[in-house]
């Protein structure tokens, strides 16, 4: 174990995997000498050279498609997007090509491709550079979706992603990169996909959250404790595959569900979780499941507006109280 930031945890796993398997390589914008704008590839070109730590032109559709082709042809590419918002300029390659290739070609292709990068609020990047994209990729079958909320989770999930023979969309959060935590340095340390992590145990209400909102949910849980509400906080870790069992069992115990994410509330992944729980644990529910998420407007620039557009700790506390009728 060693203490490191979320960004360094990611960098170290990339380096370990590149040492282990020479077919692993990484490409993306500004990842060589700059080391990525958040340092997730800092100095890697010094060890692995610029063939395997490959700067790309600003051509997202092109290099994501090239990642797919290289994966089909025996490499294990990691494609870094500077902002996950830029998946939008490469959507055909991701949704029509990457996600579908294995299935439509009769299950013959293996696609060990990771598309990773950061997203979210916290740096005043405004509408086109602060979005939460994960929900979109859950909708189209064929992509795994991972969302680490701590340095340790980032390391364990990223190694699993790189070794997976399926395409993985790997969502990091810009406001988490500087967070420090204990990380398992074992080069075989992996966290399984489809296994949620109970970040805090509780008995009165289940709060499901991802990325930055795990932290916020834990803060809310602390406040709730001071008013006598015991909250269980669950991080699904991967949204595809989704660990239904852990969430449903939790709700069977607590009888109450709040889902909170930074993605827009409208048609956000919280709706899927609420529906799933309603189907599976309807008679255990003591209150309708609640969803919190960003308002139905593009994320505004001004800080006071950005805060107003996204759920705050107080909103999570309020929602938990509401389902507990307190």
């Amino acid at each position: 174990m060693s203490k490191k930031t979320y960004a360094i945890a990611i960098r170290d796993v990339i380096a370990q995997e590149m040492r282990r398997d020479e077919n692993v390589f990484i490409m993306g914008e500004d990842i060589e000498i700059l080391g990525g704008i958040f340092g997730c590839t800092r100095d890697l070109y010094k060890e692995f050279g610029t063939e395997r730590v490959r700067n790309t032109p600003i051509s997202e559709a092109g290099f994501i498609g090239a990642g797919l082709g290289a994966a089909c042809a025996g490499m294990r590419p990691i494609v870094e997007l500077m902002y996950m918002d830029f998946t939008l300029v490469a959507m055909d390659q991701i949704i029509n090509q990457v996600a579908k290739t294995r299935y439509i070609f009769g299950g013959r292709a293996k696609i060990p491709l990771v598309i990773r990068g950061q997203q979210g609020i916290g740096r005043g990047n405004a509408a086109t550079h602060s979005q939460s994209m994960e929900t979109i990729f859950m909708h189209f079958p064929g992509l795994k979706v991972a969302c680490p909320s701590t340095p340790q989770d980032a390391a364990g999930l990223l190694r699993t992603a790189i070794r997976d023979d399926n395409p993985v969309m790997f969502f990091e959060h810009k406001a988490l990169y500087a967070d420090k935590g204990e990380v398992n340095d074992d080069p075989e340390f992996m966290l399984p996909f489809g296994k949620a992590d109970i970040k805090r145990e509780g008995t009165d209400v289940t709060i499901v959250a991802n990325l930055l909102y795990v932290k916020r949910a834990l803060e809310a849980a602390k406040e709730l404790e001071s008013i006598g509400i015991s909250a269980e906080v669950i991080d699904p870790m991967t949204l595809v595959p989704f660990d239904k069992e852990t969430v449903v069992n939790s709700v069977k115990k607590t009888g109450r569900l709040v889902v909170v994410h930074e993605a827009h509330r409208n048609a956000g992944w919280g709706a899927e979780v609420a529906a799933m729980v309603t189907e599976e644990a309807f008679r255990y529910l003591d209150a309708p499941p609640l969803r919190l998420g960003a308002l139905a407007c593009p994320l505004p620039f001004a800080l006071n507006l950005e805060n107003a557009a996204t759920p705050q700790v107080a909103d999570i506390v309020q929602a938990a109280r509401q389902v507990c009728y307190r």
Binding site: N55, P57, E60, A126, A127, A296, L305, A309
Partner: protein, 320 residues
């Protein structure tokens, strides 16, 4: 030839842009302004010269490095500064910020935080002008890095095919963030890409007002005559980091200093003195710009924050 009136306008505009951005740096450093700000100090000649040939009815689309375009196209410095500070009085009510600033009233269809995002939008504005038999043209500003996005190629093909009055102005500053053009771009001169789309392509010194002007006026004439688009590549350099605090490991101090020698404002000032402007006249213009910038900063600092109660307004147009 550049008339005396236009020459002093260009000179004033360059000073406005420089002064505005210098203030942005210091506001950023004193935490009065946040977010992604990309500065065009060193590249002012392009926006100032190109826009001196346009009216408020002509269109532009801009980039993440868009303050210069916005100001040159006629935006008020106070509303622009307020936008960068996320104030209610800003051009976009504080919702856009530096990377998403627009002023539809002066024909600025927007900065664009998505590299290459504005290029086809200019083609569309030019198409509208053509379909409605108007004489307005559209200009798309974009960087060298943007010419590696697929959308650049689609937009140039469309424009050529439809012969719309659009002018593509590539500001080639040699880098896309840390990546030098030689490492990302298959050609040395981006202007040669025009050949693929059957339109003229020219490369000019982007720090030389007169060279830019000559190339742009030829393109403008062609556009207005219904002969279609032109690609103009202006070679230039950004003096500052890609973002405030950029450690710039990808270039040397000497390289930066050598480009500062080619300061477009200083160079044009010297030209104007040769052409009969007096030193006092030039000083007066730079002082005027300075004063406007100071007033803009005051205005922005003293403006209120946007009203959170209106956050859901404008997602859709609604009948009043």
């Amino acid at each position: 030839m550049i008339s005396k009136e236009r020459a002093s306008r260009i000179y004033l505009t360059m000073h406005r842009i420089r002064g505005f951005e210098e203030q942005v740096v210091s506001l950023f450093e004193s935490n009065k302004l946040r977010g992604s700000v990309h500065l065009c100090i060193g590249q002012e000649a392009i926006a100032a010269t190109v826009c001196s040939n346009l009216t408020e009815k002509d269109y532009i689309t801009s980039t993440h490095r868009g303050h210069g375009h916005c100001i040159a196209k006629g935006a008020r410095l106070d509303y622009a500064m307020a936008e960068l500070m996320g104030k209610a009085t800003g051009y976009c009510k504080g919702r856009g910020g530096s990377m998403h600033i627009a002023d539809f009233e002066t024909g600025n269809l927007g900065a664009n935080a998505i590299v290459g995002g504005g290029i086809p939008i200019a083609v569309g504005a030019a198409l509208a002008s053509k379909m409605q038999k108007r004489k307005e043209v559209a200009v798309s500003f974009f960087g060298d890095g943007a010419s590696n996005e697929g959308i650049f190629h689609e937009a140039l093909n469309l424009a050529s095919l439809w012969k719309v009055p659009v002018i593509f102005v590539c500001e080639n500053n040699g880098y896309g963030i840390s990546v030098p053009a030689w490492q990302s771009t298959s050609v040395e001169d981006i202007s040669v890409r025009a050949v693929s789309y059957n339109m003229p392509g020219v490369t000019v010194d982007g720090n030389d007002v007169e060279a830019i002007d000559e190339a742009f006026r030829a393109a403008l004439e062609r556009a207005r005559a219904g002969e279609g688009p032109t690609l103009i590549e202006c070679k230039t350099y950004r003096w500052l980091g890609h973002w405030t605090g950029d450690p710039q490991p990808y270039r040397t101090r000497e390289e930066i200093e050598s480009w500062k020698e080619k300061c477009p404002i200083k160079r044009y000032g010297e030209k104007l003195l040769e052409q009969g402007f007096t030193a006092e006249e030039l000083e007066q213009l730079s002082q005027q710009a300075k004063k406007e910038v100071e007033e803009a900063v005051d205005f922005a600092l003293n403006s209120p924050l946007p009203d959170e109660g209106k956050i859901l307004e404008d997602v859709f147009y609604e009948e009043a």
